[in-house]
Amino acid sequence: MLRILALVVSGGCLLAQQAVDYESKVLPILRANCIACHSEKNITSGLSLETQESLLRGGNRGAVVKKSDPAASLLLQALRHEGDVKMPPGRKLKDEQIAILEQWVKDGVPMPAALMKARRKGADHWAFQAPKRHPAPEVQNVAAVRNPIDNFVLARLEKAGLKPSPEADKATLLRRVSLDLIGLPPTPKELREYLADARPDAYERAVDRLLASPHYGERWARVWLDIARYADTDGYTIDAPRPIWKYRDWVIEAINKDVPFSQFVIEQYAGDLLPNPTNDQLIATGFHRNTPSNYEGGIDFEQYRVEAVADRVQTTGAAFLGLTLGCARCHDHKYDPISQREFYQLFAFLNNVDEVDKEDDRKYFNKPFLDLATAEESARSEAYQAQVDALQAELKAYEAKLSEEKRKTDPGWMERRKNLAELRKHKPEVTQTLIMRELPTPRQSYIHLGGDFTRKGASVDAAVPSVFPQLKGVSGRPTRLDLARWLVDRDNPLTARVTVNRFWQKYFGKGLVDTENDFGTMGEKPTHPELLDWLAVEFMDRGWSQKALHKTIVMSGVYRQASAARADAKAVDPDNRLLAYQSRIRLDAEVIRDSALVASGLFSGKLGGPSVYPPIPAGANSVTQVTREWKTATGPDRYRRGLYTYFQRSAPHPGLVLFDAPDATVACTRRIQSNSPLQALTLLNDEAYFEFAQALADRAMKSGANDETRLKEAFAHALNRTPSETEQGRLLRLLAAQRDSKRDDRAAWTAVSRVLLNLDEFMTRE
């Protein structure tokens, strides 16, 4: 000890190096006692002792080396077991070892550069390398190739000795592509026209027609809204209505206009930070305001604000990066190269929104929002305010004549008060929508030790994880807008891959990467890695056009195959990952409703507007704290598409959630497909579906007097095909039995219609 001190005191570079040599003296101690938990590979509590840079940066509790007062460094306090952190855990180093490290710290923790090469576990993982456009492989079965997608799929099939399935018949194909692109089945007229179209590009024309339909935007908006955790209420305890449907309409319109996906993301993520943002760009930022919000009595507002910000980080992981970032909220990610510090660096981008964080601001619990009053609404509001002012003035004038005691019993006073209260109940609504707005002075972000927001660790600034290409061209403090641009930057290895994979999943039931929200080291590997990359690069090369991507997939031969399961393929590929045939996929909750609406002829094609209230089973919305009035629509709003159904988080419409619509609490990147008796009860007995069946019966009966004609009509609307002889025989038998029972033709035909709307085929995309 003395010797070392003496050497240091005498100073000089040479002497210092000899005195406490990192490699021979310090490193052995660190290796034997510290590095196992504090390495670049395993940075417990955010602290790595492997590089000088990481050591000086410190850990989750902040700096561990204090240059101004080396003796007071946290590192040394921990080694001396002086504070609440005692290292190594459960034992203490020998005094002479501590002395060496003390000296090293006083020297300014010198480390030879050669030993400081940063290595990150998992940095070489496939998903962190930029996608490359691979040449389409050659295949033998050239006739089956419709576009390059088929080369990639066929090459794998040929390797496995499997043939692709033949193309589905024309009627099935049109039904499939209609359900997939616009979420609605074709009408009998559309089908007739398609079957009669003998031009070689008839299918492509049908695809183009569907992509140009405004219903395309509705269908794919719903898919995106799952990720946006869209709902019409606040969630948690009070779950009051919130103004956000304008955001839903923005998504529909953006998808219909084929706004490039990159722009689509930037505007939703940070439209408010664009120069001179338009109202539309502000509305788009509702994306991250869809987080549930809690304002029940007695809460700490900061806790739920933090919860929302953390959700936004996790959503960023699930939706764009395909990474389980949430794992790094409480500790470093166990499998992927994302440290807890990096989680909070991402958190810092999203931590500056002007949302309520203290009890004093309770009345602004929903801020920030945007006023979007129409001229009519403004006029109504002004008229209302004028009336209120007048009544108030009148009341005041009247009051002035009475003593305070007398007022309470005076009929005139009571009358006037009642009138005012009555008027106030009818305050006209003004259209608003929740948006993001940045605080003028950003909040300082910290690492939350153990994920607990009350335990602040080291302060952090906004940055992207080091495993990725870094932000480009940012001067000064990076903002949410910089993060948005980085997400859709050409060099980002994940966003395009994750997005094309999710599209693929919708068309084939499973993604090329089965774990669609985990492209990390624990996720599944892609079944067709080169195809995934080809699609990702193609997507970006074609200006992030979603329509182009949809078209490329549905034009492929692999998409157009028949969906019947094949025993020969199942024998070698039980899960059909090689895609020797298409998959039968149960329709999404909304698409089942919409298909029944179209079949019944009741369908209202109105686009957008406030959410609507179709019939709901009695008592379905009384399972929560506050039963809110459900004003069942009687006009066309009764027959709107499922995506417009009002979604109350604590009591969602059973017709949606029973068919696996997400509960809108966190981003949902994939719907599961359950199959339950409660679904059967809904389609069999629900008021709405019975009404659809009656309407379909009426349609059939209007088509002619002959039972066979009527049955054909009903089949054409519900299933887009004619009945087989067996089916016809079976249903005519049902018709006869029902006629015997009821002697009411409409009731009998309603029974037949109910059968059609309950068939597996009706609720399945073949």
Partner: protein, 469 residues
């Protein structure tokens, strides 16, 4: 029926039974209502119980007025709470609650020891006191969040965040249900309003939705859309279902998609539910003595009716029944409102346990009674002249009865103020112990989501050894 049609249908029926008669379970494991997807009913160890009835008291009952007797607290009555007790603690309603140092409040209720075990129960629960030897009381239980919504989520899912499966979902996912014509996990509710948080409390989170709790009503249709549409007779419904099944079978033959076989069986179960549902809520065959014991009045959505309904559900093989009863949130006044709700709950709760016992069901059933947290030993004054108690998460009381537990004892405890527990028992420990009674190791029942294996007890949970039989 024409001959070719008949032949075809018969052939497909035969094929259905050959291909999936016993295979349905496999094809549709995830899909069948409440059928287990996890090791197909394989337990980790022999279960002590087969079913659970969880009586959830929304709003947080005061342990200090009901079960956790604190004679020492009366010496402190009206005195400011020592700073050492409050240091570093966060409470709900911090702004109003701690404007000035809150004063301690002794209970005004009388306590007595009951049963051979000498369990302390207050005068508010005479009926529950009369079955003291059938229950085990847990005092000094702790939880993590002091707001109702998140704390209820925590009691049910082990997480204060939404999106995780609740205990009922985990259990039915893990070991399925014995009921063939009712859902495996049923939720009932009574009181002036539904529970805060609603559907998230019985949600299946990342587990398939087939495992979510199904809310039942004690009046009207017990299950949504259970009745056939108006004007459709049972025979007509049957005819319609037969035609659906026949056409679905044809489709099954042409596509070989086993999901259709599952769908056919689900429609059959739906039809059976249409019969079993009304029978379930029909109390007509219950004796007058039984109705009186519960205080049940047919046709009303009361806690008493729901207790009786819970017994009828477990009799029919339902695995997990949860009753929510509001409202126990006595901030403002812990006198009359507490009298009322305890009066409402005491008799039916005791009756349920007694009834299960006399029918020989209690041995294989676990009954849990409790809320999302407790209430502070400090009084809270919101209106002059009234006193209530604030939310308290460090220490509260629940009790259990039935198989799986060692009855007639008090587990855990709290300091002399009822503020801090004397030993650590938390919600994760309760979850671990309940799963254990059902033959499930809480460390092994996992589900992979978002890149990692999740379990009900997250990264915690220890068995409460003293509680277990």
């Amino acid at each position: 029926m024409t001959n070719p049609e008949q032949r075809l249908l018969q052939r497909t029926r035969r094929q259905l039974f050959r291909d999936c008669g016993i295979g349905i379970g496999k094809a549709g494991l995830l899909s069948l209502l409440g059928e287990s997807a996890f090791a197909a009913g394989k337990f980790h160890h022999p279960p002590k119980i087969d079913r659970v009835i969880y009586l959830f008291m929304c709003g947080a009952p005061s342990h200090l007025e009901l079960f956790d007797y604190k004679p020492e607290l009366s010496k402190w009555d009206g005195k400011p709470t020592p700073e050492s007790v409050l240091k570093g603690k966060r409470f709900a309603f911090m702004d109003t609650f701690s404007k000035e140092t809150p004063k301690l409040l002794a209970t005004r209720r009388k306590f007595q020891r009951h049963g051979q075990a000498g369990t302390w129960v207050s005068e508010l629960f005479p009926h529950i006191a009369s079955i003291a030897d059938d229950i085990t009381l847990i005092n000094g239980l702790s939880t993590e969040n002091f707001n109702h919504g998140p704390a209820k989520l925590f009691s049910n899912t082990g997480s204060v965040r939404t999106g995780r499966p609740c205990m009922g979902s985990w259990v039915t996912y893990g070991i399925g249900s014995e009921s063939k014509d009712l859902p495996g996990f049923v939720v009932l509710q009574s009181g002036p309003r539904g529970p805060r948080g609603g559907a998230a409390l019985w949600g299946s989170g990342f587990l398939p939705t087939a495992y979510q709790g199904i809310p039942f009503r004690s009046g009207g249709d017990p299950i949504l859309d259970l009745s056939s549409p108006a004007g459709v007779t049972k025979d007509e419904q049957r005819q319609t279902l037969d035609a659906i099944a026949d056409l679905n079978r044809l489709r099954l033959e042409s596509t070989a998609d086993q999901e259709i076989a599952t769908r056919i069986s689900q429609y059959e179960m739906a039809f059976r539910m249409q019969t079993s549902g009304p029978e379930l809520i029909d109390f007509g065959k219950e004796s007058k003595a039984t109705l009186e014991m519960y205080g049940a009045e047919p046709g009303k959505a009361t806690y008493a009716n729901n207790c009786l309904l819970a017994r009828r559900l477990v009799e029919r093989g339902v695995r997990f029944v949860q009753l929510y009863h509001a409202d126990w949130d006595h901030h403002q006044d812990i006198t009359k409102p507490l009298d009322e709700v305890t009066h409402e709950v005491d008799r039916p709760t005791a009756a349920l346990i007694r009834d299960l016992k006399q029918r020989g069901l209690l041995d294989r059933t676990l009954v849990i009674w409790g809320g999302e947290f407790g209430r502070t030993p400090m009084g809270e004054v919101r209106e002059k002249g009234q006193i209530g108690r604030n939310h308290h998460i460090d220490s509260y009381s629940i009790f259990m009865a039935g198989g799986g537990i060692k009855p007639g004892q008090t587990v855990g405890g709290s300091d002399e103020l009822g503020f801090t527990p004397t030993e650590h028992i938390d919600v994760h420990d309760v979850h671990a112990s309940v799963l254990h009674m059902l033959g499930i190791d809480h460390l092994k029942l996992t589900f992979r989501s978002q890149g990692r294996d999740f379990r009900l007890t997250d990264i915690k949970g220890r068995l409460i050894q003293k509680l277990l039989a």
